[in-house]
Symmetry: C2
Subunit: 170 residues, 2 copies
């Protein structure tokens, strides 16, 4: 999946003249778009007294129910102290359940409670709505390119985490 998506073979395709100006526009596009990308969930989170860190935790626990703390750490790329602060509040608030592992009792497996799923739903609905609108505006061709460039921009380890889940559209 990480091999060049250029695919269609022609060597003429590699004649990509990228001026610094074009690259700068790409950089600013990432900056401005990421703000839009987080704006809707941020508003919802604020009402609950949570931050982006909580969103990320909830998102990835939803994506991979039963994931361990260590797993989550490597996906999120933060320290355990940092994650722990977030998880503690989520557990106290009854959004996340932490179950001792059966095979390995040192591990804690994380699950969203019904309340946790409800918050995840609200957050991801908002984010998906924006993503869907952007996709619709840009069209299917653009969606494919969008994903290809983003994947190529990741660090290899992140790309592994990214590719680790089912997909469906490529």
């Amino acid at each position: 999946m990480s091999d060049t998506g250029a695919g269609s073979g022609g060597s003429g395709e590699s004649l990509l003249f990228l001026t610094d100006e074009q690259l700068r526009k790409g950089i600013e596009a990432m900056f401005f778009a990421y703000r839009g990308f987080t704006a809707d969930p941020d508003r919802i989170l604020q009402k609950h007294g949570y931050g982006r860190a909580h969103h990320r935790a909830v998102h990835f626990i939803h994506r991979t129910p039963g994931t361990t703390v260590n797993n989550l750490l490597s996906v999120l790329g933060v320290t355990k102290q940092s994650l722990n602060r977030v998880l503690r509040t989520l557990i106290e608030d009854g959004l996340v359940e932490s179950r001792v592992g059966q095979r390995d009792k040192r591990e804690r497996h994380l699950y969203l409670t019904l309340a946790g799923e409800a918050l995840e739903q609200a957050l991801s609905d908002a984010q998906r709505a924006r993503m869907r609108a952007a996709y619709r505006t840009a069209g299917p061709q653009a969606v494919s390119g969008f994903r290809q460039v983003l994947e190529a921009m990741m660090d290899p380890e992140m790309r592994r985490h990214f590719a680790a889940t089912r997909d469906g559209d490529q």
Copy 2:
């Protein structure tokens, strides 16, 4: 899960069948890619004792020399107090020069010094290198789509800021 995004009928272009799963992948792609996007500058900044906020200020002052603090505020989307702390250190360290406005003496016009330009160069070189590599990997078709989706994802006000500068590739 929630509503599966099906084409709303109508025009041929809207035959975009977007499952929640596909949208979730797009969301995660943004998350992971943004980390890669900021990783290289972050390493450079750390050596200088700066953070991302400094990078953003330096970037936009470079882009629009002579911009006022207020201008910068609306682009960056933070409070003036927050920006001020960053600007103060940059001015103290001799990377940014603040000149009192001629027409309106309340305004401060911001410029990068030679040292400031040097840091900007180092930061944007690193970021452009990654962007260029991603573009090359993904191909020209993908680059166009990437930009289209990102622009569609921005809030309208950010889109204005984004579109406000010269472009070159579209």
